[in-house]
Subunit: 158 residues, 2 copies
DNA sequence: AAATAATGGTTACGTTTGCAACCATATCGT
DNA sequence: ACGATATGGTTGCAAACGTAACCATTATTT
């Protein structure tokens, strides 16, 4: 009989999603409260902060966000004067993005927040929990890497 | 110096979110293609299918969805004639939800799909990957359980 | 050197989301 | 018994999202 018991609680997509929401929303609350920033903005900031100068496209594939998300996040950060664009003079379609001084300052504060949060999580989940989780995630990430790039599966890239 | 390197790729909320999206979207694609169903609908169906009769509220906390999501999912499933409501006669605010025959049929097909997908995942991530992941998730789930209910952190419950 | 396709990035549009306000009923305090 | 408060559930609205269409520019084909 195939009808029988199916437990949502043991279904991996469900469990992952729930865990991700729990962990993610709590962190989002931190920086949302403090800087009124959205997740795409925070990710963009993080990408630029750590890698320095890069293009929108690069930000997208680095932090696996859809190009429209990136576009809007970049716009928002620009408004806030946390980043500035500059034209590539070889290829005029390309824009290079870079954090302003204020942006770098925000970045520093944000990653400090992130570090504290990660430490907090480590305490909550326990060393063994974290390690297991990390290994499990590594397995998925490997598959993601194989299974064509990041994740937004660019509607283009078919 | 606190400024230094922060790698988004090692930040847990980011990793979890990415993994969840990867695993979740792929599954969603399956049932979206086949039944034109959304995730809240699928979750509601799953909850009702496995537990039989329950209220919207119960569906919400069982599958950790916000009440509005549940409300809309229930409405959609009702339209499709996959579930029917019935008034509780002790408390007239309460509605009990139950799958129709068609709903149960759909449920059976869906969980079959889910099972196949889970198997597929197990193959992809490898036994050790799955086990690690499962342990890690368990650690988080434990914290979730403690840290007050499911996740939507009911705006009400403050 | 055109015509065609591809690429970086933005924009318009319909859908989905979360929040707050709301309705109806039920419970509690007094 | 009566007003305040709480609860299950729905709805209006504004923000966030993904898709597809689009603009400008660069590559490729012929």
């Amino acid at each position: 009989m195939t009808t029988d018991s199916f437990a949502l609680e043991q279904f991996l997509p469900y469990r992952l999603n729930r865990a991700a929401e729990f962990v993610g929303l709590r962190f989002a609350a931190h920086y949302k409260a403090k800087y009124g920033m959205t997740r795409p903005e925070w990710r963009t900031l993080a990408a630029l902060g750590s890698s320095g100068r890069m293009t929108s496209k690069a930000v997208g594939s680095h932090s696996s966000m859809h190009k429209t998300k990136v576009s809007r996040a970049v716009f928002a950060l620009e408004q806030r004067r946390w980043l500035k664009r500059s034209q590539d003079d070889a290829d005029r379609r390309v824009e290079h993005l870079e954090l302003t001084a204020a942006g770098q300052q925000a970045y520093r504060e944000l990653i400090e927040l992130a570090r504290r949060y990660q430490t907090e999580l480590e305490a909550e989940f326990g060393e063994s929990g974290i390690e297991a989780l990390s290994n499990g995630l590594a397995a998925i990430e490997q598959v993601i890497r194989r299974s064509g790039k990041g994740k937004p599966s660019e509607p283009d890239d078919l």
